[in-house]
Symmetry: C4
Subunit: 249 residues, 4 copies
């Protein structure tokens, strides 16, 4: 079996595993579970972890140039090995965004906006879960309910930053950093899309100029065609003259 075939086969099981992981993770974090419920959530997460582990090993075994694949997928290894990076498994859900994108038709700007909106919502939700996970275990933290975590994530990604809730742990601050970078990118995409639209609307005049140029070239073609016709007529006449000039001799 080739690596390409494996990746085609494993795409959907991995996405499903990511969705299941998200559900179990959200259940455990929001419910602040303990006892049998927590154990069940952990079992589900361990099961999805196995799927990711199997995928990593299979890719490593099937890769044509193993060392090259290994050195280029250090992050994949860390996501599988370090429990701390578990939330990054949700990056798999970008597959779902790709499908949204496929069904969204062909308008480029529409797809950019849809992708940005989808990625932002996913980022806000996952960051709220992850920050709640690390902050509610830390005494003195202000982010202790999922509602507050969602609110904090939204305030952060829009770069408003009220400061009514702020993470205190290192991990929480790393998550905040990712949200802020996401916010800058979101702002950039929104602005850029509007700018592109306005530039295009204003540029219609310029396209008219381009069209005028092409109109003049077409007029020139018309003139040249008439030239050719005149020449063809003359060509036949000189032929007649040349033939006649020969025959009487």
């Amino acid at each position: 079996m080739t690596q390409q075939r494996w990746q085609r086969i494993s795409e959907w099981p991995l996405t499903l595993a990511a969705v299941l992981f998200l559900a179990a993770y959200a259940w455990e974090v929001i419910g602040n579970l303990a006892g049998p419920s927590s154990a069940l959530a952990e079992v589900i997460m361990a099961a999805t972890w196995t799927v990711f582990l199997v995928d990593y090993v299979a890719n490593l075994v099937l890769a044509p140039e193993r060392w090259q694949w290994f050195s280029r997928h250090i992050l994949d290894l860390l996501i599988v090995v370090l429990p701390l990076l578990r939330p990054l498994r949700l990056l798999r859900l970008v597959t779902l965004l790709n499908i949204l994108q496929r069904t969204a038709g062909t308008a480029f700007r529409g797809r950019v906006i849809l992708y940005a909106a989808g990625a932002s919502i996913l980022l806000i939700f996952v960051a709220a879960l992850a920050v709640l996970d690390v902050e509610q275990a830390n005494p003195g933290s202000s982010i202790v309910t999922f509602e507050d975590a969602l609110w904090w994530a939204f305030v952060t990604i829009t770069t408003v930053g009220y400061g009514d809730f702020t993470p205190l742990t290192v991990m929480g601050r790393l998550i905040a950093g990712a949200l802020m970078l996401g916010g800058i990118a979101l702002l950039g995409v929104v602005t850029a899309t509007i700018a592109s639209w306005i530039v295009e609307r204003v540029a219609i005049k310029e396209e008219d100029a381009q069209a005028a140029t092409r109109g003049e070239i077409r007029a020139l073609e018309h003139q040249v065609t008439k030239l050719q016709e005149t020449l063809d007529r003359m060509d036949q006449r000189t032929q007649v003259l040349a033939d006649r000039g020969v025959s009487p001799k």
Copy 2:
């Protein structure tokens, strides 16, 4: 009566109802009314609500394909049915912005700026009213006067976010979210408009290049016209030659 005719007739009564609703809502929220005044404000709001309800039912009855119209106007139904979504009735006021836009002449960027400014002012005012409505009823909230609510709305939409006033209720946070998204859009529109202006000013050089191209094409046309004249002269001469070559025979 067709649905189109109904919508043309109902456009202005609905806008008037939205303005009346806004006035009564502002009066009740800012005045923090109680007793007979509150009852009067509620009566006015109920009256405007009736207008929206009648419009919804009329649209549903007159729609050529009723189910399609119903499924595409779920939000309209929710605005009419849920008291919580009452402020969204003010979306009707966008009609007024359309009129501003119509009178603003033809400059595209000017209309974009005007629309963005109008929508921002409306959003700030309505969000301040709505947040005051939900927060002043919540013990412990800091937003308890309309002045503070306006200040909070302005600080939020510009993404400054001092954090001196923050909503504590779920509804207040949803309103804040709408303001933040509005702020990102506002920032995008301002930046994009300036960018479009600068790009245009810098692009004048490029338009000059375009003009130069067209100048060269025109020079080429002149050359081809002269070619045609030379050929016409020759055409007549070869005709003469051909005629003469025949006649003496």
Copy 3:
């Protein structure tokens, strides 16, 4: 004397009056003056106020269509009449920015950046002065030194908004609003200038395409010129033939 001549004459005295007003205003506000010093500062400000008053009256008298000028300069009237709007007299200093602009050469983007930087610095300085003026008189306010006021103005115009200092008075909040709008405009100008620069750099390829088009048009011209030469040669020969065809007869 015409209004135009008056405006040419009064341009520099008004700018000087604005500078003097700024100096006296800064001295009074930062020094939190009392007694004779305060009286002196007030005398200087009254003197500069007279200059603005004289200019307003002179303009009104000299205007060709007095009512039109009056209705279009309501703000000028308010600045002269209302002590509250005194800081707006500093808008006159934009004249200095115009001079900077004139000496800054011809690069359009350079002038935009210079103007934005100059206006931002002026806005920060004047807003810090004005907010200190209104806030230090208000018990409970946190902005009581000029250093804090400058820091607050800078934090606000960049839309960072820590919230360590916030205005409490209505006037202070209006000044903050002006700063925030200035900040959005500043952000827009910076982004737009960078965008214009990147678009231009990337567009060099497109200009190359344009140049290639013109190269092909030039090659075409060369071909047509050769056509004309061939035709000219033929023209002379057919002339010879036609002459000869006549003479032997």
Copy 4:
């Protein structure tokens, strides 16, 4: 020795001195050193300072027009003379960014993004060090660990501005100002790069129009070439006719 040669020779020792200075500075500030360790760090910093001093003097001596060079490098003098401006020596590290840039290939947007990311990371790190240096010596300051300083720098450069940590000293606020300006520039670069990319993607249609114009010009060239061929044929025939017209005489 010419100044150019000196600058080529001194480029790498200066960069090395800046790296060493950064290491010693970070060690002293983060470790909040005292006693012999502090003395060692100070010795290293003094040594790197000597390198900068020697470079400044050498440049001054070797400059072809000494006064011109002096007046244009006032900042270099201040960096060498004022201990307060020591962190600015790290501007030398931009040399390293230039090398990154050289190895990053030719894509313009890629290089802009890489440069912006590198400069942002350097700015965050150096600002965190510098603010910790000035704030931890100030009683009452909240920024007293390097982790908090880094977090504050990141919150500031992204213009989120929670306000959980804010500088209290003048020097700390100047550093914060530099960070905020860096943040506005960063936002501008990100937005501009995305805008350029979207504009380019949308503009492909326009390039197609340009290509179509060139296609038509090429078709025109083809027509003119055929004209030339017809004319050449006629040219030979009229030559034959003219020769024959002469010979029989």
